[in-house]
Symmetry: C2
Subunit: 309 residues, 2 copies
Amino acid sequence: MNNYLVTVGTTPDVCYNIAAVERDTGLSKDTLRVWERRYGFPKPLRDRHDERLYSLPELEKLRLLRLLIDYGHRPGKIINRSVSELTQLISSRAPAQDTPPEIQVMIDLLLRHDVENFRNALQQALMKQGLLRFVTETVTALNHWIGEAWLAGRVAIFDEHLYSEHVQNILRNAIIAQPGRGSAPRVLLTSLPGEKHRIGLLMVEAVLAAEGAACVALGTETPVIDIKNAVPAYEVDIVALSFSSAVTQSAALAGLSELRGLLPDGAEIWGGGGALARARKAPEGILLLRSFDDMRYAIERWRVEHARR
Amino acid sequence: MNNYLVTVGTTPDVCYNIAAVERDTGLSKDTLRVWERRYGFPKPLRDRHDERLYSLPELEKLRLLRLLIDYGHRPGKIINRSVSELTQLISSRAPAQDTPPEIQVMIDLLLRHDVENFRNALQQALMKQGLLRFVTETVTALNHWIGEAWLAGRVAIFDEHLYSEHVQNILRNAIIAQPGRGSAPRVLLTSLPGEKHRIGLLMVEAVLAAEGAACVALGTETPVIDIKNAVPAYEVDIVALSFSSAVTQSAALAGLSELRGLLPDGAEIWGGGGALARARKAPEGILLLRSFDDMRYAIERWRVEHARR
DNA sequence: TTGTTCATTTGTCGTGGACAGTATTGGGTT
DNA sequence: AACCCAATACTGTCCACGACAAATGAACAA
C-alpha cells in the first residue's frame, strides 16, 4: 500500500510512506532520511511499526525545496525556512527576459489553457518557417521559456506535460512528412536511463530529417548494453545521445564513456543537450555538439570523410 | 562516476557500481544487497573503499533473472542457476499462439529491422480499418505479441523501443487528423509516476478521439497532486489513468484511491489497462474499464446522464 | 578573468536486523 | 476432485547510523 488514511481531529488526512514521497518528489529515500537526521526536516509521524508517514504539507514543502535546489540553492540554507518564505524565493526569481512577440503569443495561449489555439499557433509557425527554422528558433525559445517559467513557479507541471505532448505531435507529424529522408549517415538516436525528456530527441530527429540523414529513433531511456546490441542490428554509423539539463554533466560524461568502451571504434558517438552545453572537453572518442549548427556541420564532415573512399 | 576500468589479466573489464546496476537492471539497491546476503549472488568485487563493483557477466545474469521474475519465476528458485540454464528457461517458454497473418507480416518486418516497410504496413492497416478498429484490433494484437516475444527473448529491447516509437508516430498523426474532436465529455488522460508506457495512453486517446470526446493528454508519469491541480485548470469531467502490466495491481489500486481522496466528487475517475484486467472490484468512486468497449459504453453513459439536465 | 587548493556541504554506500505483503502449501469442507 | 481458509515460507522494503566520495564554495595565486 502506498498511502494511509489517518484521522487527525475531525478532518481525515492522507499520509504518504517514504516510497510514495520518493515517487512524488524525486528525492531518494536515503536523502529523505539523512535530511531528517541532519536538519530535522521533514519530521514525519510514524506508524505502529515505526515507519515514516509524511503529511501532505510536508510533501508540498519538499517539492518546493526540490525546485529551489534544482535552481541552485543549497539544501542546508533553505530547508528550515517556512513555506511562505520558499514561495517568495521562487517568485522573486528574475522575470523572463524579453521574449519575441510571436513566442509570447504562444505562451499566453498555453497559460490560458487554450489547447486548440496553441496547437494552431505551433502549426502556423511550422508552416511559415519550415522544419529546420521551426526547431532551431521557435521550439528552442519555447523550451527555454517554459523551463525558466517552471523554475519560477509560473507554469504548473501539468502545463509543461501538455506543452511537451503537443510539440511532440507537431514534430512527429512534420518529421514523417519530410521528403528525402533516408540517405547516409545512418544515426541511432536515443537517451540513457534516467533521461526522460523526449522533446530534445525529437528536435534532433527533425534536424536529421531536414538534413536528409537516416534516423533510427529508439525513444528515451535505452540501457547502454541495448544500444551496443542495436548498433549492428540496424547498421548505423553514428549513435547520438541527448542529455537535458535535468541530468548532471558528470553523469552524462560517464554514460558516454561507458558506451564508448562497448562500441567498436568504427561507430561514432555524438552527445548533446543542456547537460553538456558547458562541458570543457569531450572524453576520448566522443563528439560533443553544443548547438544544432554543430550537428549540421558534423553531418557534413561525416559525408565528406566517407565520400572519399 | 558510474563505472571504472579495471584490468584483470590482460583484458580490461568494465565494472559497474551499485547505482549503475540499479539503473540498468531495474533492481533496487536494497534488493541487490539482500540477494547477496541471502543467496550469495551477485557477489561483486569491492573497490578500495569496500564499495561493490559488479562485472558485466553479473549484470547480464541479473537482467536474465529480472526477465524471468517478471514472468513469474521465484528468485530463490532460479538465482543460483547458470546463465545457460536461464537462457534455456527463457527460450523454452510457450511459442506464440497463432497470430493472424497480417499481424505476422508486420512482426517479420520488425524482426528484419525493415523500418520503412514496417511503417508502411502500419499505415496501410490504419487506412484500411479506420482508427477505431486499427487500435482495438491491430495495435492490441501487436502489443500482445511483442510483449510475449520480449518475455521469450525473441525480440530485443531496442526492437520494442523502435516499435513503440513508430506506433506513436502513426497514432499521434491519426488522432490529429480525426474530425469532430472536442465535444463533451472532457477527459484528462495520463499515467502515474512509475508507469512509463505511452502506447496504452495513445490508444485510449485514439478511441476518445474516434468517439468525439475532448481529450487533454498530459503524457506519462504525472504526480497525483499535479493531476488534482490540472482538473480545475482544464475543466475536465473525467480523469482517465492507464496502468500497463508492468505495475502491480495493488499499486494501481492504491494510486487510484489516493487520487479519489484528493478530487471533488463531481469528477469521475476511470482506470484501465493490463494491471487492472484481473481486478475483482473497483475501489469506491472508481470506474474500472476492462476493455475499449467498456470505455465506449462509459462515454455513452456519461452523455446520457449529463444530457437530462 | 582563469586556475588551484582547501574546507564544507551533501548525497550515496555500507552493515544487519526487523517485518509487511505476497505466494505457496496443507488441511479441512463441499 | 474442486474449493476455501489458515499456517508457513519467501521476498522486498524499511529502519538506524557510521563512513566517506563527490560536489560546491571560498580563498588565494597566476
